[in-house]
Symmetry: C2
Subunit: 430 residues, 2 copies
């Protein structure tokens, strides 16, 4: 009855791959706005080694809830990495939760207790009752040393499955994961079938249009597709598995060809290179410099360009001309143009892009103007209406777009559109 | 043996509050970079009603794993809201996972089947085997209607606990949560003790320094503290519970007073108002306009200023003067200053801030220059070194800072520092 999964995650899928589950303990983490850097690290590292992800959770500092969450994690995966709740205070309950689940006791590890005594003595301090808690382990656990902190980690084996308990402090977690977790898991699951990943960046194409090229791949076995949309830019990841290195190479070639053919001039890269980086490379290749004139996006385009290390080799600068006065005085937009056509018009955006080239003495320029909203629109130019213009030594182009979303989204979409249009022109697309 | 939790989450804590657990089903969600908007919505809405959060999870499209994760959620909370995995394809396994856990069967709901038939008939389509799956429910469930999609939701009761299964499509989830979940839970848990929240925004203070003011609150019962650091800006949330409305009002007043006293001129707001918004309000109050001159941060400061709706009332524009040539030509920085002191110097940043005021005709200005890295530094000015300057009709100020982090972090920290310095000066701080 069960069909194969057509949309497995960016990680590899299939029953042949060991699965990994990740759990973070801490009431303060039950805020979706908080990122779980430890969990992200584990999943990225283990997926690259051929593991699949099955569970990603956060649980409050409550013994019962921790035990239940660990049980869910252990049922869904061959390896569980749990972070947090090993500190010295009473609300650190991870050991107790694990012990409850496994029917074991929490005991003091004599070896780690001596390490603690030694470290505290170096600081001229004696071991008190609070710090003694950091030498507690679940009975039968292998102690995982912690070079940067006082709480030791635990490795528990349960019916062939691995349960790692590590401290949540990122620096401690990172080191212990690299040193004690990753090598053990790689050794425990040798000869994992290879995985290949193609990370495509696509710009200037709506998500629905981009889906068309992906449709045949959703149904192909051994291919997992994921799309992350970013308002005018899409990150598309295809993960390939289920074959020898040679077969995967062939399949990877097929995927690359299909994406290149399907996305054409919208394909920024097949290796995760961003639109900003691609623009920088294209400019360097032609030996051209760039300047920007922004009204609507006020700095967003410039900020994206300089996010690339070494941008100073081609980025001369930008003008955020929010007030009409600034458009006239600093960019040389004729007052008559503003009066006759308005600030949000083809004539104004073209005057802006010319002004930016001239004032900065740049080979290329890009300009934006529009109504970000939520106020300031008219029936003819509602919030979300904007113009972008791009200019190179080979010509000048402008177009009008419309995105009926919130202020921040309109700005982001306009900035990506401007970068895409300029990049296309610098590469010689017409 | 168990001590009270000193650092409960932003939600309320304490045994008197019903707990809520959230689970998202979908292999594609096992990417920590993806946000779970459905889960965030549930937690925010229920915390405001006095619930506490106990568990937040994501699980792959695997029946066994779903059953285990639902079990963990049900053990940790009085109410579980699960999203996703109710679609028509074979990899949608949430109903099956829930049925397995509860020892029930999956059956077709005749009522919803007729709704589906009617909807598809309107589109001129017949009900096929694939779509029939969307009328499946766990035996004994109450059907929750879905006005925007084809899959119905389920409400299951298990030993007094609530288990809601909703589709994952955000528009469908949102509407069903508001209509079918929230009212039922509010009704089921009447008379929840009140909660108060103080959301402080603090700028220009390192996290460690900000902690000092918070220390007494960590140990106070009925107070939960959370800090979200953003490179130069801190969001601090204190959630108060465990008392009558009157007692909470008193305690809230005490918290506000303590934070105001402890943070002094670093306190941007006690109600979540951001640094950018506070700067805008201060400028409007004094009737001043502002312009920016950015080298290091190239557009980041301008972009933050215009992120506030209505910024066009005080923001005239900005110049990203990345190349020295642009600093000279467009901002009027004397070439001799650049030659003698370099682009990253007090003299240059002061010349930039003056240039911005003059060129834009603005009452106030702010300027940044520095080495973002990873290359381009010297021993004297390593990457992460920067200067900011602020100017108002009442004076001009400049200072040097250093943050040895990555390029993006240096830019973000410098932009926040510049905004904080300007805001302080506009308010008349010296």
């Amino acid at each position: 009855m069960r069909e194969p999964k057509p949309q497995a995650s960016a990680g590899a899928s299939g029953p042949s791959r060991p699965r990994v589950a990740v759990l973070a303990v801490g009431t303060e983490l039950l805020d979706p706005a908080r990122t779980d850097a430890n969990g992200a690290r584990v999943l990225a590292a283990l997926r690259a080694k051929g593991f699949a992800a099955s569970f990603l959770g956060r649980v409050a500092d409550d013994e019962e809830a921790i035990a239940a969450a660990l049980q869910a994690a252990l049922r869904s995966a061959e390896a569980v990495v749990c972070s947090g709740g090993l500190g010295p205070t009473g609300d650190d309950r991870t050991r107790e939760g694990a012990a409850q689940l496994l029917g074991r006791r929490v005991v003091t590890d004599g070896g780690w207790l001596r390490v603690l005594e030694g470290r505290l003595a170096q600081r001229g301090r004696a071991l008190d009752a609070v710090n003694r808690r950091q030498a507690l382990i679940v009975e039968g656990a292998e102690v995982l040393p912690n070079d940067h902190g006082l709480a030791c980690g635990c490795l528990l084996r349960e019916r062939g499955r691995f349960l790692f308990l590590l401290p949540g402090v990122p620096a401690e977690f990172r080191e212990m994961f690299e040193k004690s977790v990753l090598p053990r898991l790689v050794e425990a699951f040798p000869g994992l079938p290879p995985v290949r990943t193609v990370r495509a960046v696509v710009a200037g194409l709506p998500e629905a249009a981009a889906e068309k090229t992906l449709l045949p791949w959703y149904r192909r076995p051994g291919v997992a597709v994921s799309i992350l949309p970013h308002l005018g830019v899409l990150e598309i990841t295809l993960t390939l598995d289920g074959g020898s290195e040679e077969e995967l190479s062939l399949r990877e070639g097929e995927v690359r060809e299909a994406l290149a053919g399907g996305y054409g001039r919208h394909l920024v890269s097949l290796d995760g290179v961003s639109l900003e980086e691609a623009l920088g490379r294209a400019l360097l290749e032609r030996g051209w410099t760039v300047a920007v004139a922004e009204s609507l996006t006020a700095g967003t385009v410039a900020q994206k360009i300089v996010s690339v290390p070494g941008a100073s080799r081609y980025f001369l600068g930008g003008l955020s001309a929010y007030a009409n006065e600034a458009k006239v005085r600093l960019l040389g937009v004729p007052p008559s143009t503003l009066e006759r056509f308005g600030a949000v018009s083809e004539e104004t955006v073209r005057a802006m892009v010319r002004g930016a080239r001239a004032r900065f003495g740049a080979a290329c320029a890009v300009a934006t103007t529009g109504v970000a909203g939520p106020t300031g629109g008219t029936e003819e130019k509602p919030p979300g209406t904007f113009w972008v213009a791009a200019a190179t030594p080979e010509g000048e182009w402008a177009r009008r777009l419309y995105l009926p979303l919130d202020r921040a989204s309109v700005m982001e979409f306009a900035a990506h559109t401007a970068l895409f249009d300029l990049w296309s022109r610098v590469r010689g697309e017409r």
